[in-house]
């Protein structure tokens, strides 16, 4: 018997949930709104909500003054590059752990997880020093490698939990029917693995895009991604709310959109498969 829900109760739920949802979302909404105001309107008291002269001027100014596109491009390369590189290394590893498990598989997985727990600040100077020695400071290559390494445990784990769900019987059946190893991988495993790989890709891009310890500490002018670009607004001159809002909106928009597609994967990825 399904629980009957009165319309009254449903209405109350809806009102409460929407009120809280909007309250939580408000800072983001306010940032987006402010990005379309002039600087004077942005600090107007009382605050202006929808009735102001909408302008795109801030977006133009941000791009013009600070060469926003370069930071955006750095973010794209670093987040995308570290994710793709991580997947190339992690797919075979997760694959072999899921399909050819040995006695040590669990230990290796747990150990990989433990490297993720290492506080970044504890190894800040060594990495800084290695970067100087290798000429990697303030380069996109260096940051791509570091972000790949810090997220590699999550990538391996997520892929592992997805691969684990591919039933082994299907492989055996294919083998019985005379499929070669190549056919097996190409026609049976790959199609079944692609959703998991795609989810992992998505979550990892989000994590890498928003990473704000190494990106702040290992870059200066050349390789700085959006996280570092936004941080430069912490000591600005003159009125800047509308410009800050425009820059912020551009920095978070792509990830907000990606994030909405990856709600479910987020849980699995960030709890290492412990909550599904």
């Amino acid at each position: 018997m399904a629980r009957s829900v009165t319309t009254r109760r449903k209405t109350i739920n809806t009102l409460a949930a929407w009120a809280i949802g909007l309250l939580i979302f408000f800072p983001i909404l306010w940032t987006i709104l402010t990005s379309f105001k002039t600087e004077a309107q942005a600090i107007n008291d009382p605050p202006l909500f929808f009735f102001f002269d909408w302008t795109l001027e801030n977006y133009a100014v941000v791009q013009e003054r600070s060469n926003y596109m370069r930071y955006l491009w750095n973010s794209v390369i670093i987040a995308g590059g570290s994710t793709v590189l991580g997947l190339i290394i992690a797919v075979p590893a997760a694959w072999s752990m899921a399909f050819v498990p040995s006695k040590r598989t669990k230990d290796i997985l747990m150990w990989m997880l433990s490297t993720k727990m290492l506080p970044a600040v504890g190894v800040l100077y060594p990495i800084y020093l290695v970067f100087i020695e290798l000429g990697l400071l303030d380069t996109r290559v260096g940051l791509t490698i570091v972000l790949m390494l810090i997220n590699l445990p999550i990538i391996v784990w997520m892929l592992y939990t997805y691969f684990k769900e591919i039933p082994g019987e299907i492989l055996e059946a294919a083998r019985m029917d005379g499929a070669t190893l190549k056919e097996e991988i190409l026609y049976i495993l790959t199609p079944m693995a692609i959703p998991g790989i795609a989810s992992t890709l998505l979550l990892n891009i989000i994590l890498a895009w928003n990473e704000a310890f190494w990106t702040l500490n290992l870059t200066a002018a050349k390789a700085a991604p959006l996280t570092a670009f936004i941080a430069s607004y912490s000591s600005p001159e003159g009125l800047f709310y509308a410009k800050l809002s425009a820059a912020s909106t551009m920095a978070i928009a792509p990830i907000l959109i990606l994030g909405w597609f990856s709600q479910k994967q987020l849980v699995r990825g960030l709890t290492f498969g412990a909550v599904k």
Binding site: M117, L152, I255, K276
Partner: protein, 288 residues
């Protein structure tokens, strides 16, 4: 059936990931350990030799150490308390039947996708600024004196910002856990006349306990390491210097690498204590 051949192939496929992570862990860790036993001032003479446990003693006995531990505990504890309490309530609400559930979920989860530097700066300027911030406008509208959030209520403000970022994470995981609850159990309890509060206390909460533990552990590990939020709001001033931030200042700002490294070793030990508990739970899950 795994053959000898496929075993060695598996080892080969695993090798790059294992070797890279091993290097990523061992090389910097060894360097930090070595530095921590040295007097090492890159800008004032460089490597000045071994000093034994001197750095470890000095890091702990410096006047900044205990306040930073206290600050860390207040921030981590405060954020955990807020995100767990509101996360449980919010996930129960979101699990109820309503119109537009999908959209509300998106609204609630959105803050998690905002990069830390953006959320910190938006809160600092557009909400908490004592002259032009939205809170100042609101306070003035009620005839009250605007609050200097980030200097007078600095810890509370940081907790508020960080909680806003992490509430979606707690809510999302708790919601996932609630949805796996067998609704027949709740119905049976309801028919037997159990009031809502006992249904919550005796059915929902026990069911959520594992998910809550996981949220607490994972958040603790991330919260111990928060950096950008403090970096762009107060830069460690007004009593917001956490252990992480103190180590950062010792290493990069005052370039006292030996002292900072000793602090780093403490931070690693602290994180590992939390990690052991988390790994136990995750490991148990791996067997099933």
């Amino acid at each position: 059936m795994a053959t000898q051949h496929s075993r060695s192939a598996a080892r080969f496929m695993m090798a790059p990931a294992v070797i890279l992570l091993l290097g990523w862990m061992l090389i910097p860790l060894t360097m930090t350990l070595i530095f921590s036993f040295k007097k090492y001032l890159p800008l004032r003479g460089g490597d000045l030799g071994w000093v034994g446990f001197d750095n470890y003693v000095r890091f702990v006995s410096s006047s900044a150490f205990w306040p930073s531990v206290q600050t860390t505990l207040i921030i981590v504890g405060g954020v955990l308390l807020i995100t767990i309490i509101f996360g449980v309530l919010l996930s129960i609400l979101l699990d109820q039947p309503m119109w537009g559930q999908g959209i509300v979920r998106i609204l609630v989860i959105a803050p998690f996708f905002v990069m830390p530097t953006v959320s910190a700066l938006v809160w600092k300027n557009m909400f908490m600024d004592p002259v032009n911030g939205l809170f100042a406008h609101l306070w003035k509208a009620f005839g009250a004196q605007p609050i200097e959030w980030l200097s007078d209520l600095s810890l509370f403000s940081i907790i508020l910002i960080v909680s806003w970022q992490w509430l979606p994470f707690a809510t999302l995981i708790l919601l996932t856990a609630i949805q796996s609850l067998d609704s027949e159990q709740l119905e049976a309890a309801e028919m037997d006349g159990a009031p809502p509060l006992s249904r919550f206390a005796f059915i929902i909460l026990p069911h959520l306990s594992r998910a809550i533990t996981i949220v607490v552990l994972i958040q603790t590990i991330f919260l111990l390491a928060i950096f950008a939020e403090i970096f762009v709001t107060t830069s460690g001033a007004f009593g917001t210097r956490t252990l992480t931030y103190l180590i950062y200042q010792r290493v990069l700002e005052s370039q006292n690498v030996g002292l900072g490294s000793a602090g780093g070793v403490y931070a690693i030990i602290l994180a590992n204590i939390v990690a052991i508990f988390l790994m136990r739970i995750v490991g148990k899950n791996l067997d099933t």
